[in-house]
Symmetry: C2
């Protein structure tokens, strides 16, 4: 039996990340109850995004131009590449704003369970960038999950061939504002092992 | 400063009910990372909905035809109208499927705090339907919130003028599968006061 447009809409909305069936129904109703006020602007906004926004072929960022405004910004440090899992991580760095180098978005992290191997993330592209440009430092800003750490390890190993390249990762320890008695065992252990001399 | 299409998209998505800023960002990224696979079908589905779906001018249901398929279905009991707050309530009735009469969607319930008065809900339309047709029963299927009960009370009062009309409301008491020791005071009190003789 063919789906009605209402069922199709609910179905398509429920495919969005973090949206369950009930939320999708609520959203569909919200859109349909006042089509001109709610649905039409959303369609226009999505159409605009579809037309204007592209993935940067160099770094994987999402932007209104390709290459993106970060890759094209010659005032940024071209010799440093910060490797992140996802565009949202890049956005977090940019929001805070202290980092002035380039990025490389992997588009995921290695995961045997989810069947994500080295071909599924943009690893080869990273290696090509490093060999083509005068990259001096690669900062691996991946999560401290098992997948993130595995990915960091694999990338670091592949980068060993570039002798003049510094490969760094984010420091691990107690998050700022964190209280010791709330820390999980792993974090406390890592923070303890990596303790620093202060005087 | 003009908003970029990305910011505009995140903004517009975050206007959907139940979607916060972070979810909106996640959804926007999901859509933009694979435009042809994720964004395009959603745009098409929304366009289809915009073109095909309308609000029924009789009952307020949302459907592909106006009047809706429920209002046009002559095998349904035309003398009974079930009054609901929202289309989602109508859908719940229809999903369960035992009710075979017509509906009237108010589009909200009276609320002094939210500034929803009798002009903001489809009350006048209900009264017109009752006086024009041979309605024998109005079932007030509104929530047992303060707003729902106020609305029921106001509607019942307005319907008093129709002498041959039965105005009913849903029974109130312990929900099926409910355990007495988990009940709130109000429900238990209502259920106790409305107790029924069983032999």
């Amino acid at each position: 039996m063919e789906q009605s447009p209402i069922d199709k809409l609910i179905n398509d909305v429920s495919k969005l990340p973090g949206i369950g069936r009930r939320s999708a129904q609520r959203i569909a109703l919200f859109l349909l109850k006042n089509k001109n006020k709610n649905l039409k602007p959303l369609i226009e906004s999505l159409n605009l995004s579809f037309d204007k926004i592209d993935e940067c072929k160099i770094c994987g960022n999402i932007d209104m131009q390709d290459p993106c405004n970060i890759c094209l910004n010659s005032s940024r440090d071209q010799s440093t590449i910060c490797v992140v899992e996802d565009v949202s991580d890049l956005w977090t760095f940019e929001k805070i704003g202290f980092y002035k180098g380039l990025y490389h978005v992997l588009g995921g992290s290695l995961s045997a369970i989810q069947g994500i191997g080295t071909d599924e993330i943009k690893l080869e592209e990273l290696l090509k960038r490093v060999s083509k440009n005068k990259t001096r430092e690669i900062i691996l800003a991946l999560g401290t999950t098992i997948e993130g750490q595995t990915t960091s390890f694999v990338i670091a190993e592949k980068l060993e061939q570039y002798k003049d390249l510094n490969v760094t990762r984010l420091a691990q320890g107690i998050p700022m504002g964190g209280e010791v008695h709330y820390l999980d065992e792993n974090t406390l252990n890592t923070a303890f092992q990596s303790r620093k001399k202060i005087t």
